[in-house]
Amino acid sequence: MIHLGLSCHILGSVAENPGTNDPSTADLAANAPRYRRKSSTFIDGIHDVPEDADRAPAQLYSTMSGRLFHSGRIAIVMVGLPARGKTHISVSMARYLQWLGVKTRIFHLGDYRRATVGQGGDVPEDYFYPNASPASVVLRQKILKKCREDIYAWLNHENGQVAIYDAVNPTASGRRSLAKEFAKHDVQTLFLESYVDDEKLLRENARNVKISSPDFAEMDPDEAAKLYLRRIETKIPTFETMNEKELNYIKMINAGEKFFYNNISFNYLSHRIVFYLTNTHIKTRATYFVRAGPATEDESYKADAPLSGEGVKYSQLMAETLIKHREQERDSLIANGGQKVPLRPLSVWCSTRARTLQTADAFKDRGFKVRQRSQMSQINPGVCERLSERAIRRLYPDEVEKHELDPYHHRYPRAESYHDLAVRLEPIILELEREQNDLVIIAHESVLRVLYAYLMHCSTMDIPKLKFPRNEIIEIIPAAYQNEAKRIHIPGLDPRTVPSSPEDIRIPVPDSRSDTPGPLPGGGLPPAAETFDKPPEKVVNTAAEAVMDKITDVD
């Protein structure tokens, strides 16, 4: 897995040196450092170019054109100075829209600039100035043109619906002409400005994202943040906040404290975006995914049986491991010079099914508050309940054939598909975004798959195959550019309790390795045997490496 992550990174750096032969813009975009054609499910796939973009997790319905909500093609244009969290907003919004089934892609102008000026190169000092030198203006226009051409190509020829254009867009006149230009291409424009006038927030942002650069080494973090913000001011001297009455815009003030919303012709999609954004925040917190323990009548969905003796043991071990892990993390943070802050509070969510509720008791007994969510109950197996894979193949050969073609959307008779499950989980996703505490989610594997897929943006072909063996707790930490997944090993479990849940739908997957305890979410990974012999205590995602070159970035 680490191997895959690294290769992605290498691929990225190759693409940053376009070489002497000027590659076509489409190649540039596809190979831009942020885009990968394919990647592991272990890495947040939000920046991947999907192989099959028609299949999105929670698509309620699609129209003939493949575009949702009867909306046409839309450009969401970001507005705001650097260090205002534009990238974070773009990425979260893309995550949510893609989850809803809207074909969305982010175009970070910075990627194009870096691809044009090359690795290690820098733009001229007057690049952002209104009275820049002719050479700078030409460079700027060249970069802008490439990026826009790719946006149109994607909307026109790849049936994209929403293009998120992540750039500073500092002037009113520039935004007006941009809206006009998009209108000419029959694309509606919605501007989304991130406006921050809270000094404290600005400095925090600058400190978290930007100042790990060598330029600021050994400086007091506060001083460094101030210096960085001053640099932005000199680099981009003119910035006009949005006040264009004739444009559709959302102004997000101080990271979501306030929204101002100028609505000329938009309705549903922009409401939806605002609804989503009112629930997001950028504070760091962890989400832990945990399986429910095994139950007495594991093979029956309808029985809703209580935990078995093994299940009770599992729940205790799991809770102990998690609590110990959190304390260790905090101790090591303090040991490394971190501040002596108390542990973030921990909330526990489980479904209304008996075994998740009883697994949650391990936390409840330790004084944590547990919330039951009926939406989080497992996927309904319908006619497949209690049937072996062989029996399903014998009884429903046509269904099996359909299922193998599209395991995400296909539903067996009287059963739910993963897609049905995703739709039902939407309120949970929003509450998950809003949650400020650390959060433990105890649920059936099918529910974990869908929630994990939202946070790590997995392809729909992979979702039904993701694996969550009981001896691992998955920890997800959100970050601006992409989320990170870690796993925490639970030692000392009876190996019989580890494998994928036997009460699960026995979906015949082509590669039926399902009885071996795979490592992490499995799809697209090398054969499990390579990695699962001795699962490491912890594997850290390499997401941070992938954004190293973002450090000195001013977009």
């Binding site: 404290e257 629930n279 009926s374 008779p413 929003l430």
Partner: protein
Amino acid sequence: MSPRTNGRGVQVEDTKICVVMVGLPARGKSFIAQKAQRYLTWLSINAKTFNVGNYRRNDAPQPPADFFDTTNAEGERRRRAAAEAAIADMLGWFRQGGVIGIFDATNSTKERRKWVMDVCTREGIEVLFVESKCDDEEMIMANIRDVKLTSPDYKGQDPEKAALDFRNRIKHYEKVYKSIDEDGDENDYTYLKIMDVGKQVIINHIRDYLQSRVVYYLMNLHIRPRSVWLSRHGESLYNLYGRIGGDAELSPRGVQYAKKLPELVRQSVGGDRPLTVWTSTLKRTISTAKYLPETYNQLQWKALDELDAGVCDGMTYQEIKDVYPEDFQARDEDKYNYRYRGGESYRDVVIRLEPIIMELERSEDILIVTHQAILRCIYAYFMKKDQSRSPWMNVPLHCLIKLTPRAYGTEEERYQADIPAVSTWRGKGSTAKHEDPIPEAGMAH
């Protein structure tokens, strides 16, 4: 911070919100309030509106415009008393488990808002101000004509004079009116300000999911005229055998209904205007919609599938009573909350229908072909039926229902296909079989 913390962060179940309406008279505040209340109640969130005007009317039934003049000390005192009485009742209601109270009054001054804020904060209740601000004279007059002149304040008066009086009443409010956070010193309040019917909106300081949910819902409302048509599928083979659930095809009489549906719809729409059709993913609804014109766009929603009866799927009521006698009785006692073993309850169905309602609110003309339990839930949303009764409503087969939302409620019309079908209704606590509905149990009581 809310006092309702337990040292581990605020718990959402504990949230209590007072939605405080703000705005001059005739700005659609009561429309918003009643919509929000209906939506929340339907989601099983205990919500209630406290309209200060109703309290004032007890004391001053038909006051002249100068009653509302702020320099009229007597009027001022009595209006204040009405607000205090409404708040006192609301706080009492919160103490008994209320979750979202809607305080419907003009609340047009900073002092009044601060007072509401302080009173609620002391009780650990969050406050969400919702202001409707509108300067479009034509819209205001339309609102006065449609809504205000039918108000008890003007009962039996000359409409021209009444309208003039109402304009004067508004003028008195305008003298002291301050839009929320107009001066920037109400920056800490959580508020939604809707200007010119949604052309501009400000959302400030949303503090939890429930607040964002209310705000999102209010942003999806529109006031363009439209109707929603509801129909059950035609009689199915399972209906004939008295079996519940399943995925059976239509009976011959059911097919007859499917063939007649296009004509019924045309008659009810009053023209050839195409509708959008939503069906479930089950055969009997898709077959029922089969003969509708091709100009009708059709969409299948899993969320419109019939209530899942779990282990009882495919059984008759008699079989259920024989095999699961306790369950049969438990369902009769609390049908809304009873969850079939391995299946769903009405409450579960409402949760999965929520995105459908949101889509419905923002859409225009829609025809929904679905199932008995699902129709009961959708109908309950529009007609504000409470949970103890909605699962027992009789929604007959082979009948098209047209619902048209109006400012203060929903109008209903029914179109009978006159094609016989079995009854699929069973009364509470009665024998374990389908029977002919008794009149009071029907929807048209």
